[in-house]
Structures are given as C-alpha cells and as structure tokens.
Amino acid sequence: MTDLSHNAASLYAPDARTRRRNASEARFRFYGMIAVGIGVLALVVLLTSVLSNGLGAFRQTFVVLDVPLDAAKFDPSGTGDVEAMKKVTTVGYSTAIQKALVDELAAAGIDTEGMDAKDLKGLISQEAPATLRNQVLADPSLVGTTVPFYAYANGRVDGFFKGRVSMESARLDNNVSPEQLLLAQQMRDKGLLTVAFNWGFIFGPDASELRPEAAGLGVAILGSAYMMLIVLALALPIGVAASIYLEEFAPQNRWTDLIEVNISNLAAVPSIVFGILGLAIFINMSGLPQSAPIVGGLVLTLMTLPTIIISTRASLKAVPPSIRDAALGVGASKMQSIFHHVLPLAMPGILTGTIIGLAQALGETAPLLLIGMVAFVREFPDAPPAGFFEPASALPVQVYNFTQRADPAFVERASGAIIVLLVFLVIMNAIAIFLRRRFERRW
C-alpha cells in the first residue's frame, strides 16, 4: 500500500500495470477465439473439399444412342430363349453400339474425318456393351426393336465436361486425344451427349480400374447395410442385457470391477486390433468366409458393444430410484420392476446411444481391411441370411479402394462415396437427436 502515492494519476486512466493486465486478458481471449475459429474452419474446409471434389460423381456424361438390335444377330435361335441369347458375348453388342454411333454421327452431320473406328469407339465406356447385354437379357422382347440406350461416355470424356481433362492434358494422354474431345464437344452441341444424374453410381456395382465412369456403390451400400443389420441384431440385445446386469444387479466386488475396467478399456482399443481379432478368430479359427458381411458384422459388434453399454448404463442410471421403489412397493419382483418399468423409461436414451454406436460402426474402415473386405466384388450378395456369407464390400472400404486406383477420375468417385456415407451418418444422427428431443424426460 506504500506505493499508493505513485498512483496519484486519475482513477479514470488505467496505469501501466492495469493496461498490461488488460492487454494480456484481451490476448488470451483472442487466442481462445482463434482456437474455436480454427476448429470451425477445419470443419468447413473439410466439408467443402469433400463436396467440391465429390459432387461431380453424381452427374455423368452419357452418349445417347438408338441401337437397333438385329434379331438374327442377338437371338440366333429365334426362340427368344434367354439361355440361347446368353451365347452372344459382349463383342456382338460392342459392334452394334459402334455401328449405331457411326450412324448417329452421320445423321447429325458431324464430320468424323481422320478418325478411325477405334477412336470413335473410345468415346464410349468399355462397360457399355455389358450394360446393353444385361438390359437385353433382362427383357428379351427388346430384340428386333431399336432401343434408346444411354451409354456411359468414357471417363476422360466425362472428365472433359467436368473440367478435369483439358486439351493440354489430352495431348499427353494415351487414352484420349484432343480430336476425340473436339468431337465430343460437337456431339454435346448436337445433343448426342448429355449430362444427367448418375443413378448407376449409387446403385450399380464397382467397375474395373480402367472404367472409372462405370464404378458404383451398390454392392458397398448393400454390404454396409447387411453389417449394420448384424450389429443391430447382436449388439443391442447383448449390450442392453450386459448394462442391466452391471447397473442393476451386479454386487460391488472385484469381479464386476474387472468387467467395468475391461469395458472402458475396450472402448479405447485401436480399431485395427479388432480387425486382427476378427482375422485370427473368425476367419482362421472358425473358418468363416473372407470378405463376408457376417465377419464384418461380428467384428463391428464387438467394437460397438462398449459404446452401447456405456450409454445404456447412463440412461438406466438416469431413471430415478423412486420408480423402482414404487414398483417394488406394489409387489413387483426386482426383475419385473426393471423390465416393466425402468427399461421402457430408459429406452429413448438406449436407442439414441445405439444409433450413435451404429453410426460409428458404419464409418469404421481399418478392421474391415484386415478381414478381406478390400477384395474387388462385382456381384451383389443374395438376400439374407445366405447373403451374409457371400463376399461384399462396405462403403468406407470402397472409398479406400477408390483411392488406391491410378486413374484420377477415382478421386471424384471416392469423394462421391464419402458424400453418400456422410448422408447416411447425418440421417442416423438426426434420428438420434430427434429421439432425444422428443422422448427424453428430465426428472
């Protein structure tokens, strides 16, 4: 208090020390704002990057053709028998598509001088003949008519209209020439090429490394759905049962303490370790098939259990003891009080936790890589339960698969697949939030 005399200046003007302290206060506050800003900015940049790269995957360049299907060629037996028509390979369809393309170009008056048949064919995806063949085999009555056919344009042509491929890059590219791109531009002007929503990306199967334009997510979405079914069917009952025991029945002793420590540690075990577990126990020891949804589902179940147990216990704990006491008071047994009264009241919280656990499991990649889900799978698995044992892919693994391929068009596919994954996650979380808002009760 001796230096009060130094502070003789006005009370309205802060002295140097106060100014320093205030400045430091403002600085600290500013750092905090920056930290929050970086967090929010990171989210924005992350989402923008994914969206800007991936939205293109949902739009696709198609070549619009009218393909005449000569009955003599595609149904040599003339009986309309599908088995007989299967003998016509994709080569036959390929020539028909090529001929249709040449005719259409001539009809539209586009000059194709200096381009041989191979160049023209190169505009269309190599997947197109197989697509047309499947279309015909699915509906044999098409033979003998002229079918309007939307063929995928080659990935480079597609990239040209999306700005990924330019004339300069085409010059250095073996797969496409600037002349082809010019022709494509002309076709676009004449309406022979159109850009439309690509349902094939969502519902179609994966395609080989050389055909990025045809790659789709159908098998992966189905595989992920199967795994989520398995996780839901196993993790929810087991998790709820375990939580009821630990929360309501377990005596406080060393044994239950061990179980509790165990569960909290399991929640923090790296996911890849669960993949090793799945590989060693489910595949090598008990001989379940590789890359099957059943194995993935079991591994994800084990991973999700701790999450579900922790959230279920929290919602059981939130039900006030008065409910239990009232039930016991009118003569219910302990089991009855729990199953008839406590559990229904805790259900919204349990479901919320389960959905969040499922959302986590849906995005999990690393363990699935180890149990062989990286395999290239084109066939859709059958309906459950047989389909659980057939090879399938999974959405996040499909993203990883796309990133491992050389063609830059797959970057767009990978980001597109992420958008699909994020849409599912948003839906699941929205349901969880809705449940919480709608049914949560505060006591």
Partner: protein, 486 residues
C-alpha cells in the same frame, strides 16, 4: 437342412413350449389362477427358455467348432506332394472346398448320384471338365489324393450337419420335456425364469471380457509363432524394415515406431493447444449464441469417420503442403508426409481434447473461481493460475488418451503418411507407422505362416500394449482427479 431353418424350428418348438407350459399350469389348477405360485405366463416362459436357449447355444458352438474340426482332419490328408510349387496347403485346401461344393452342384444339376460319386476317380474321369460344366472352375487338374480329400470333406461335412441337426433338436426336446414335466401349481416358475434371465444377463456382460480375452489370445498366440520364426532381438532393436517375399526380410519395429511417434507428436502439438484453448474459451468466455453454434460444430468433427480425414489428407492437405511448403523450401516432393498425416490427425483430435478438457474444467468448483475473482484477478489470470493448475491432472489424462488415439489411428496414416520405413527428422518426408504396416502385411497375398505376415500380429501386440498402458494410466489419473472434487 440349413441353419436358418433349424433356427426357426427351434424357435417354433419354444413357442409351442410356451403355450403348452401355460396351458399345463392352468390345467393343473383347473383354471383357478389363484392357486398357482406364479402368473401362468411364467410357467410358459420357463418352458420357452429351457427349450430355446440350450438348443441355440449348442447350435452356435457347433457352427463355431465344426469347420475347425473338419478342416483339421482333411488338412492332414493332403500330402506334401499335392502342394505344387508356388502354392500352399491353404490354397490346396481352398481347392478341396471348391471341388466339394462343385460335387454338390453336380448332384443337383448334373444328374449324378451318390453311387456315381463313390465310383468316380480323379485319375479315370475328367473331374475338372465335369465340374466346369456346372460352373465350378478349378485352376489345375485334380490329383487323385486331393479329389479323395474333397470327397471325404463333403462326406464329413454332410455327416456333421446331420449330427448338428440331431444334437440341436435333441437339446431342444430335452429342455422342453424337462421344463414341461416339472410344472406343478407349487413350482416357483417366476423365480426359475428370473434366475434364468439373470444368468443370460451375466453371460452377456461376460462377452466384453471374452472379447478382451480373444484379442489377447489371438495376438499372443500368433506373435509366439512369429518369434519362433524370427528372432525377437532383431524385431525390437533392428533399425531396418525391409520385408521380402522370398524370405530373409528385415523386420525391425524401430522405424515404424519412430514414424508412429513422430506423427502422433505433430498431431498432439496441433490438437492440444487448439483443443484446450477452444474448451477454455467456450467454457469461460463465449456468449450463449456462440456456444450453441461453435460447440456442435466442433463436435461434428468427432463424428466424421477417419476415412474421410484420410481422403482429406490425400487429396487436399498433402498436395497443398507439398506445393506451398515442402517444394519451395526444398524439403521434399512427396505429398504424403509425416506433416500431412500429423496435421489432419491433429484436426481429428481437436474435438476429443476439447470435450474432455471441457468436462474437466467444468468439474473445477465454482468457489475456486469466485475466490480468485474476489482477490481481483482477471478472467485469464483465474484460468491460468487457478483453474488450469487445479485441472492439470485431468488435462494430462486427456492428453494421454488423445495420444493413445493418435498411436492407434489407421486410415489417416494409411492415406496420408506414406509407406516408406524411414527414421528421419524431416517432417515433410514420407514415413510409415505401425498401423500402416499391419494393414499392408495382412492385406497382401503372402502365405499365412510366413514371418512377413505373422509380423503383423507382433506389431498389433506392441500397439495393443502401448495403447492399453496409456489408457490405464490416463483413466487412473482422470478417475483420481474426479474424486478429488466430488
């Protein structure tokens, strides 16, 4: 009979058991419910449980054990002579399975009978051609021994399936009979079925323990195999990682561990200050409107799958770092680098650190803050000199948990850090981590019994031990800290 149908049969029998049990209980007291010890539903429930649960347990265990037993028997039938060069017993075994599946298809579509099959011999008939006719493609010609193994495999599987159906149905019927026979009005059916349910609850909570046991067992077992093939000294102390397909690989963990720790270090350097400051700001300074917007935004980061972060590192952060930092500074030309992975992983960890710190800061009693304000301290002085020291143990625990997350993270480093095992200080060089190598060693086509594959289990065990150690310490600290203020 397929497993699905068997399952449905068991459930159907159990439902019938429920109805019959209920009915028997009612009949035993001539419909006068008051004379029963329990509500009639409980008599039915006890029959249901005794019928379904043991039978389904038998089914589950059988499904788990049968393939292992059958394959083990068949495995010993394959001679060394059947395994051609470049092949392995596992591949031959896969052939055996395929041929046996093909034989089933032949029975169904190819018009073959059991008698034909017994007479069919690989050295006399064209097995490959016949299997091909029903759409089962076999790589090479089938040797007689392998064909016999396939026949035996099919035979044993069929027999085992039949046995399984018998055993499961027997279990169901015994349970049914036992529970049904003992229904009397005096039977304490509610207590019995509640005891049963309680046993199921205990069993479910044991699954968590079983999982841990399974993890440890599978890791230790295969790691032990690995150390039989490869000296442990080299694994732990060699600074070179160079797996070769032909053998003679160098499999030292040190470069991988270095990469792991380096990436995690950068991630923590990014995440800890940002996460902590964000938590402090949101807890102590932010207005309500900022908090309702910023807090969920940061928490969304935690809900995004790691593959998304991996892709972000691969297509956005990596190229930016390379073009604007590494190349101009002459530090490297690779878009996947320790820096890329570390930065992105740091972003992933921000919400983790901030939500943990938030809990911990909020747990500091208000009285400490009030005391500090009363002495004239500013808000930042209170935070720095009172709250942080009081919350320090908890924050250390949170950082350790974040470190364990970073060390075990896989997809970000697989896509962002690169695959070259190196020990370098330059953060713009590609390096690799333990998790990346686990993935690459286990997704390749190498034979399962080779050290190059088995090393993944040793890496996995090291990873498990490190993260478990960090978790145990962190949870202990956090728990101790919470108790301090409760």
């Amino acid at each position: 009979m397929s497993v699905g149908i068997l399952f449905l049969i068991v459930v159907a029998v159990a439902i019938v058991g429920f109805l019959l049990g209920r009915q028997r209980a009612m009949a035993s007291v001539q419909g006068d419910m008051r004379k029963l010890h329990s509500l009639p539903g409980y008599y039915g429930q006890s029959v249901f449980l005794f019928t379904a649960v043991p039978a389904l347990l038998v089914l589950a265990v059988w499904l788990f054990v049968q393939p292992a037993v059958v394959e083990g028997r068949i495995f010993s039938m394959i001679d060394a002579a059947d395994v051609s060069d470049g092949s392995s017993r596992d591949l031959v075994m896969a052939d055996v399975r395929r041929i046996s599946g093909g034989l089933d298809a032949l029975m169904e579509n190819g018009g073959m009978t059991e008698a034909d099959l017994t007479a069919m011999r690989a050295d006399l008939t064209d097995v490959r051609g016949r299997l091909g006719s029903v759409g089962v493609a076999i790589g090479a010609n089938v040797s007689p021994n392998v064909f016999e193994a396939a026949k035996e495999y099919r035979h044993m599987s069929d027999r085992a399936n039949l046995l399984m159906v018998g055993a499961v149905l027997l279990a169901a019927l015994i349970g049914f009979g036992f529970a049904w026979m003992r229904i009397t009005p005096e039977l304490r059916a509610r207590n019995i079925s509640e005891q049963f349910v309680k046993a199921l609850l205990i069993g479910s909570s044991l699954i968590a323990v079983l999982t841990t046991f399974g993890i440890v067992f599978s890791l230790v077992f295969e790691t032990w195999h690995f150390f039989n093939l490869y000296p442990g000294k080299d694994f732990f102390f060699s600074a070179s990682w160079n797996p070769k397909f032909g053998g003679g690989s160098d499999l030292g963990i040190l470069p991988l561990l270095w990469g792991t720790l380096y990436v995690s270090f950068i991630a923590l350097v990014v995440a800890v200050p940002i996460g902590l400051m964000a938590a402090i700001y949101l807890a102590e300074y932010a207005s309500k409107s900022v908090r309702t917007f910023a807090k969920p935004a940061i928490e969304i980061l935690a809900g995004i799958p790691t593959i998304v972060y991996g892709l972000f590192a691969l297509i956005t952060v990596g190229p930016i770092l390379r073009d604007y930092f590494a190349s101009p500074l002459g530090l490297g030309s690779s878009s996947s680098s320790v820096m890329t992975a570390g930065l992105v992983m740091g972003i992933m960890l921000i919400p983790f650190v901030s939500s943990l710190s938030d809990d911990i800061i909020n747990a500091v009693p208000q009285s400490l803050r009030d005391g500090s304000f009363g002495l004239g301290a500013t808000q930042s002085e209170t935070v720095k000199q009172v709250i942080l020291p009081a919350a320090l143990p908890g924050i250390v625990g949170a950082i350790l948990l974040a470190a364990s997350r970073a060390i075990g993270e896989t997809m970000i480093v697989v896509l962002g850090a690169g695959a070259a095992a190196k020990m370098s200080l330059n953060p713009f060089e590609a390096m690799t981590t333990v998790t990346v190598k686990i993935v690459s060693q286990l997704t390749g086509d190498t034979e399962f019994a080779s050290p190059e594959t088995l090393v993944a289990f040793a890496l996995g065990l090291s990873l498990f031990v490190i993260t478990l150690g960090l978790n145990v310490v962190a949870l202990y600290i956090v728990r101790k800290y919470r108790e301090q203020y409760e």
